[in-house]
Every structure is written in structure tokens, then in C-alpha cells.
């Protein structure tokens, strides 16, 4: 299910004095199974971009294509789109409302036309996937869980629909380092199983470590687009856009300035470590 944006422009409150151009003439294509990170400052159009891809915002001009079909064309099955594209908003825990965890996770499948047995199977698998014991959690009230548990339940509710594309907005904000790593590894697992992942994040280390491709947004335009190494190793450009750079990339830059020969495009921790070990073995 490749996603494609063609010359998309999107404006908030058009025609009033508070008119805001959120994205301008945006074109890009995301292939199946990619892990794409989206970076950019607040107000650069990241959220608009992901909501456009999820079909939650309609562009003023241009097209959003899924599988080559315009998702805003007349007669397009919007509810199938909802099941194919899952979106995890920032703080997804705030969307919980049902009486039990089981019901909340099943909520999205209510109109899917699936058989009840199939629905309960999917709910069980989604919850187990998120690290819960189904029997223990199913009757709990989602509102009485801890913050981290709530977030996992909310994500289970999105995974239960078996989306082909998973969009995440700042998924690791507010998680402790261990939970963050576990979470990102799980996302990578999904991607390895064939899911397309689009992740908005300010966390340069996470982006360098996990993404295969990075999009950088600035003032509603696509400023940089390329594989993770190319984008994340352009420290100067990232800094000029007021974005964070990965710790390993910074360390590599500092070492290079002191005459240590670190290969170009070193942006990940294990790469840096590898380069340093190699040097030590040589000497």
C-alpha cells in the first residue's frame, strides 16, 4: 500500500484573519514496509502531514493517494481506509473511554463486519502483543491503569484493526529510557513483519537508530528527504533548522575535529562503537 502525496496544500481556517498555511505544495511517496521518521520544529507541518496521510484532513489542493487511488475521491471506501491506516496520536491514553479494557480494544472493530469470535481473537492477540496477560487485564477499567499501561492498551486498540500503515506521533514522549527502547524495538518488529511505519519524533537518537528514511519539515515544506545516514549526518543543516542531532553523530564530529578518523555518515551508536573498536584493534 504505497502512500503518495501530490502537490498537497492544506490551510487552517481559510478566509479568516487566523488563516494558517500548514503545508504548501508537498509531494512525497512512501513505499511498503518503510520505517519513515518525520522531524521538524513545532508548527512545521508534521502533524498536518500525518493527518493528511491518515485521511483525517482534506487537502485544499492536491491529492493523497493510497495504492494509487485518491482517498478523497467520491465513492472511496473511507471506513476501509480507517482500518488500513492506524494512527497513534500523542498521548493516546486520553482516547480510552470504555468500561473494560477488552471492550475498549474492540471498539474500533465494532463496525468492521468481523465475526465476534474473530474480534475477540484479535483483541486477545493485540493485548498480548503489547505485553499484557489477556485474562488478567480484560476486565480491568482502562481508566484505572497506570500511564504506561493506558498507552499500551490504547495502542492495542489500534493494532487490533491490523493496519498496514502505522502512524505514530511522538510515541516515546514521557516514557522512561527502558520503556522507550522496548517500545521502539516493538515498532521495529512490526516493520520487519511488513508494516509501514511513519513516526514523528524529536528524539534524534531514536530516529538515527530505528528509521530507514528521514523526512525533515520546515515551515510547511519538505526540507530534507533521504535515507537516515544522509540526513542525520548533515549536522550543520539540521542545526540550522534548530533540530537535534544524534549523540553518536555529535561524538563522531568531535572526534573527527580532533583528528580521529571516523568514517563519514556515522550517526548510530553501534556504528561509532564499531569504528572505534576497529581503530583500537589496528593500533
Amino acid at each position: 500500500m504505497p502512500v503518495e502525496l501530490k502537490h498537497v496544500t492544506c490551510t487552517y481556517s481559510p478566509g479568516t484573519s487566523q488563516e494558517i498555511r500548514a503545508v504548501t505544495d508537498l509531494s512525497l511517496k512512501i513505499q511498503d514496509g518503510e520505517f519513515v521518521a518525520v522531524m521538524g520544529r513545532t508548527g512545521s507541518g508534521k502533524s498536518t502531514l500525518i493527518q493528511l496521510v491518515a485521511g483525517l484532513l482534506e487537502p485544499d489542493s492536491g491529492q493523497v493517494l493510497l495504492d494509487g487511488l485518491d482517498i478523497h475521491a467520491r465513492g472511496y471506501d473511507r471506513s476501509a481506509l480507517r482500518r488500513r491506516v492506524g494512527i497513534v496520536f500523542q498521548y493516546p491514553e486520553y482516547q480510552l473511554f470504555e468500561i473494560t479494557v477488552e471492550k475498549d480494544v474492540a471498539f474500533g472493530l465494532k463496525h468492521s463486519g468481523l465475526k465476534p469470535e474473530e474480534i475477540s481473537l484479535r483483541v486477545r492477540l493485540a493485548l498480548e502483543r503489547m505485553g499484557f496477560s489477556f485474562e488478567e487485564i480484560r476486565k480491568e477499567s482502562p481508566l484505572c491503569l497506570s500511564g504506561g499501561e493506558k498507552r499500551r492498551v490504547a495502542i492495542a486498540g489500534i493494532l487490533a484493526a491490523h493496519p498496514g500503515i502505522l502512524i505514530l506521533d511522538e510515541p516515546v514522549a514521557g516514557l522512561d529510557p527502558l520503556a522507550r527502547r522496548e517500545f521502539l524495538q516493538m515498532i521495529r518488529q512490526f516493520q520487519e513483519e511488513g508494516m509501514t511505519v511513519i513516526m514523528v519524533s524529536h528524539n534524534a537518537d531514536a530516529v538515527a537508530e530505528y528509521a530507514g528514511r528521514v523526512l525533515v519539515m520546515a515551515e510547511g515544506r519538505l526540507e530534507m528527504d533521504g535515507d537516515t545516514r544522509t540526513v542525520m549526518s548533515d549536522l550543520q543543516r539540521l542545526r540550522s533548522l534548530h533540530l537535534d542531532t544524534s549523540a553518536a553523530g555529535q561524538a563522531a564530529e568531535l572526534l573527527r575535529q580532533r583528528g580521529v578518523e571516523i568514517p563519514d555518515q556515522t550517526v548510530r551508536y553501534d556504528e561509532l562503537l564499531g569504528a572505534l573498536t576497529e581503530m583500537m584493534v589496528k593500533s
Partner: protein
């Protein structure tokens, strides 16, 4: 939110926007009296002209100011028909069963509709050109005399201004929750009334929880900064009235005076 609620503040720099909020409330009341007092064609024409002039000066786009009128058209239609058909029990032009269409009724219906519509437009002119916080500050000034009869004016004003400040935040929150629920398959566009009502639960529950959470956080933050309900809040130095304020008030009074003359001549 793609669809802004009607009557919401629209920032601007027109002379109307810059007036003191207290003056705007006074002017609003005077003009409201002029609107209510209007009873003849000349009277209607006069207030419509006055409102059109203010709208023009304020530089507001027409749509948000006139939109409530369009949205409430069924309401206006019902008022008009009630008056037209039931006002004169003897029947004038046309009668059937309990319905009696009369010339006097039509006239009454028309006048009620015009009055309500003009009052709505007037109210919108006030809220569209005044920031909510300014309005609250001004209201606080007008409520001050109630302190004499031990009404906790400061607390009431604080409650009101906190409530007003939270409206945009909660709207935004509601929008996000709605999108999140739609994205996971919720349907808000069901035709059946019962289903429609039930479909709002996934929206209402999270927004309520969010409101309570925010209220808790704010209460904590206020306590942490030493807010005590009883203590006198530091009095903000109220700005002196400027020449434009006085002029505006005079103009409002003149509009009313002309209306008064139109009624009594």
C-alpha cells in the same frame, strides 16, 4: 476546529476592537435598548443602518457575524408562524381549524423575528471584537457593587475567566479525541437518533476526563503559587478612558436618542 463556533473573538485592529471593553458593554446595552425600542419601519431601518455602520467600521468578515442567523432559521420560522397564526384568535385573512392568519399576527411575527435577529447580531458584534479576557475584566468592574451584599465577586470573576480560557483548549482536545476515535473506526454520522447519541460517548467521556485532569492540574498550580480565594486580588490599574471611548459612547447614545424620537413622534 475547522468550524469555529459563532460569535468567537476575531482579532483585529479596527477602532471598534480598540475601544475599552467597559465602554463596549455600555454601548452594547444602549444599542440593545435602541433595538428593543424599534417599533416602526423607520425605527428598524435606523438600527439596521447603525449596526451596518458598526460592522463596516469593525472590519469583520460578514459570515461569522451573520451566521447564527442562518443557523437558527428554523427557530425564526417557528416564532414567525406562531405569531402569524395564533396572535389574533378571531382570524383575519384566512382561517382553518385552530389556525387564524391575521395581518396583525404577521406584523407581530415579523417584528419579533427582526428584534431577536438584530439583538443576536449586536451580541456577535460585541463578542467578535472583544477578547474574552477583556470582557471578563470589564464584567468584574460592573459586578463590583455586588460586593456590598457579600457576593464573592472576585471568585466568581476568577471562575468565569478560567472557564473562558479553557474553552479553546477543550475544543482542541475534543477535536483530537474525535480524530483519534474516527481513525480507529468510530462513526459519528449515523442517521438513527439513538445511535447518534450513543456514538458521542467515545467523545464525551475522554473530554470530560481531560477537563477534570486539567482542573486538578490548574488547582495545584494555583495553590503552589499561593492563590487564596479570600485574599484581595492585586487590583489591576484600570486604564483611563480615551477620547475614542467617549465618542463611541456618545454615538451609541445618539443612536438611542434618535430611536427614542422615532418612537414618540
Amino acid at each position: 476546529m475547522s468550524r469555529m463556533p459563532a460569535g468567537q473573538y476575531i482579532p483585529g485592529r479596527s477602532p471598534v476592537h480598540r475601544l475599552d471593553a467597559r465602554i463596549k458593554i455600555c454601548g452594547f446595552l444602549i444599542l440593545l435598548a435602541a433595538v428593543i425600542g424599534a417599533g416602526s419601519w423607520a425605527g428598524y431601518l435606523w438600527v439596521i443602518l447603525a449596526l451596518a455602520a458598526i460592522l463596516r467600521i469593525s472590519g469583520l468578515p460578514l459570515r461569522p457575524v451573520l451566521e447564527p442567523f442562518l443557523r437558527l432559521w428554523t427557530f425564526f420560522l417557528v416564532i414567525f408562524l406562531m405569531n402569524a397564526l395564533f396572535f389574533d384568535g378571531q382570524g383575519g385573512i384566512w382561517s382553518w381549524w385552530i389556525f387564524h392568519l391575521s395581518a396583525e399576527g404577521v406584523r407581530r411575527g415579523f417584528s419579533v423575528v427582526v428584534h431577536v435577529a438584530l439583538a443576536l447580531v449586536l451580541g456577535n458584534l460585541l463578542t467578535c471584537t472583544t477578547a474574552p479576557m477583556e470582557l471578563m475584566e470589564a464584567l468584574k468592574v460592573f459586578l463590583r457593587p455586588l460586593k456590598l451584599i457579600r457576593v464573592p465577586v472576585d471568585d466568581v470573576a476568577m471562575i468565569l475567566s478560567v472557564a473562558v480560557q479553557f474553552v479553546p483548549t477543550l475544543l482542541e482536545e475534543a477535536d483530537t479525541v474525535k480524530k483519534a476515535q474516527i481513525a480507529r473506526g468510530a462513526r459519528f454520522e449515523s442517521k438513527k437518533l439513538t445511535e447518534k447519541a450513543a456514538s458521542f460517548i467515545p467523545l464525551v467521556v475522554p473530554v470530560f476526563i481531560a477537563a477534570f485532569r486539567r482542573a486538578d492540574e490548574l488547582a495545584l498550580a494555583m495553590e503552589a503559587r499561593g492563590y487564596r480565594g479570600k485574599r484581595k486580588s492585586p487590583k489591576r490599574k484600570s486604564a483611563c478612558l480615551q477620547a475614542p471611548d467617549i465618542t463611541a459612547l456618545a454615538v451609541c447614545a445618539a443612536v438611542f436618542a434618535v430611536q427614542f424620537l422615532l418612537i414618540h413622534i
